[in-house]
Symmetry: none
Subunit: 196 residues, 4 copies
DNA sequence: TGAGTTAGAATGGCACCACCCGTC
DNA sequence: GACGGGTGGTGCCATTCTAACTCA
């Protein structure tokens, strides 16, 4: 399965999503992360420690692809509208992470106007403030009302992710107290992705 | 005074910084925000409500500039290295907001390698988690150790900013409980900017 | 019990009455709202949030009716006189909400001339201005003097109803400050309806 | 000038608007109210007292029209979409009163989808709660954001209107304490109508 | 008829409490 | 395991304005 993580702007946890989804998939089969981001964020993550899956850049991806069962592609931010069609064709599943704030949601809806009908994509609410806040549910409701496909669950905000990035590992292996709890969010996403 | 807000990646509160710094400056003199971001984030903010200062795009900026005492420029993310020199010459002060996480700091240091010596810039730690967390101080220490110019204070993370963006006003006028406290962070920044 | 809410003109709180009476009845038994209004007001209300009872249109009503203990029918405004007899036969109780202003009362009396003798109906004064105003009592006295069957209590006017409609819930669950007080009016109506 | 008052649902002050706008126009020229409402609300109003302008039904309107400078038409509620075009052609100005609650606004927007482009119409916020409430401004903002033509002022809610209807006169002549204040709202509307 | 008084509704402000993340 | 702090919810006070009553 080829999963593409697409971000329309920076700072919405695109790389974190790619790394942890790949980590989940690698529990079941050989998985490769393709770091297509100009910032090389995923490579920077992996370079600090040891991820449970392999990583390469876009150039090497074509050659390596045939050896892996699952491929997670971390694309560059702000794709041109003409790239959208090609991105959709080149993957089995397109995941669009976003933060639940107004500016990000606006930019997301603007970009999705160029999305072809019937595309196999899903919006993923990311970096959602902890429970007293209702931003996550409100954002899901807002996007659903706009007729968009949104995952009915969210990835919560935890400091553990930043600490994991610093160590170059996943939250599950970060040794952080909230690591297991944070990991459960990505287990939920992983189950959803594998069921399709 | 012309202040340029430069972001090397998205989601680090560039627009929030531009809007609130301009709001601070407008207390003392006529201030203009130039929205150079391709997402038109500042315009989107202002369009929802009423900001205490005027706003225009880059094209109109040249004509309007002479009528304003202070100009705050919200640039596009990920400038090309060759743009850096021009940006520095075109302003009195360059502010580079960043979040205190490892990935953002890495990208920032990477970009600052292309920065000319003696440039009049300052890094601003933004969206810093609340006090039990030491991320803000650690990031400041890390950047100072790397020989970079960092403001010795930070802008804290508050939900009030997102609510203010939704209403199209500054946190000070958002009526939010933490609005005044959040505003005090930008007062600190504003004082620092005006003293130079 | 089948309760029909009949309005002779728009804007007299017919849908609000149907929704809240159904919510009261659903505390005791399974209740269904039948949205017979061409504007689909009740459906619009329920579509915004979550009502404590089910809802269907007139076509589905026949099939669903047997599964419910109580049915509240929100009819279309301005029924033809020949529909009156059928409406009366098709329910256990007919409630005619009206506002306490002269124009609405005139139209109501005009319509009730076509009402058969001995019919099991009751007029409900709705959207009554707050207490310094005597419109509610005056309207009740006026209708009683005209020999009509009027409930001896009223439903007061509150902004909470509009906010509840916006949220798609009942006033009791709207979280509004006056919500509980407004709900007490419908509790009074509900008790009266169940006692018959 | 021929002004048509069109209501998509009942209870939104259509007749009150027709009567008071006609009263305003009759200060300057001979004015006729055409009572096209099946409830004969305007006739009921006039029948109780004395209005400063004449009144007739739709049948007599054609014959009487030539003797009057201004004609205000009170149409029936819930016009069929195919009537819209004819209504627009048959008048110089179309006024659509509405209350500022969510249900009425929804129904209004639904109806305006059938409105031809470039039509000379204006929405009038009517029966607006007194000042601590922000419903009036919010409704205006909501309708403007939807791209509709709304008058930038509102007609406030006053009990004086109901008392005036009972007496069969305008609020200005009702002797009510708030009568003059209420009348000023319709003066604002009348000036706007005559300027066009 | 006009002015002052009182009751009640609606918004906005502030203080208090519960919950949970994040550090020690 | 304990503490500090942000976030949301509830309840209370102040303000403004309508609507009715009373007095001159």
């Amino acid at each position: 399965m080829i999963v593409t993580i697409l971000g329309f702007k920076g700072g919405i946890g695109k790389t974190t999503t790619a790394v942890h989804l790949a980590a989940y998939l690698s529990q079941y089969d050989k998985t490769l992360i393709v770091d297509g981001d100009p910032n090389r964020s995923a490579s920077s993550w992996a370079g600090r420690g040891k991820l449970p899956c392999d990583l390469c850049d876009e150039q090497s991806a074509i050659k390596l692809a045939k050896s892996y069962e699952h491929i997670v592609i971390d694309t560059k931010a702000r794709p041109e509208p003409e790239d959208l069609e090609a991105l959709l064709k080149g993957c089995d599943k397109l995941i669009l992470p976003t933060t639940p704030d107004a500016l990000a949601l606006d930019a997301l809806i603007l970009m999705l106007k160029a999305m072809p009908q019937g595309a196999n994509y899903n919006i993923l609410l990311n970096i959602v403030p902890p429970k007293p806040s209702k931003m996550g549910e409100e954002a899901i409701k807002f996007l659903e009302d706009a007729g968009l496909q949104v995952y009915p669950f969210v990835i919560r905000r935890f400091t553990a992710y930043q600490r994991a990035a610093l160590k170059g590992v996943t939250v599950y292996e970060s040794g952080d107290r909230m690591g297991k709890i944070a990991w459960s969010d990505y287990q939920r996403l992983g189950r959803e992705v594998l069921n399709v």
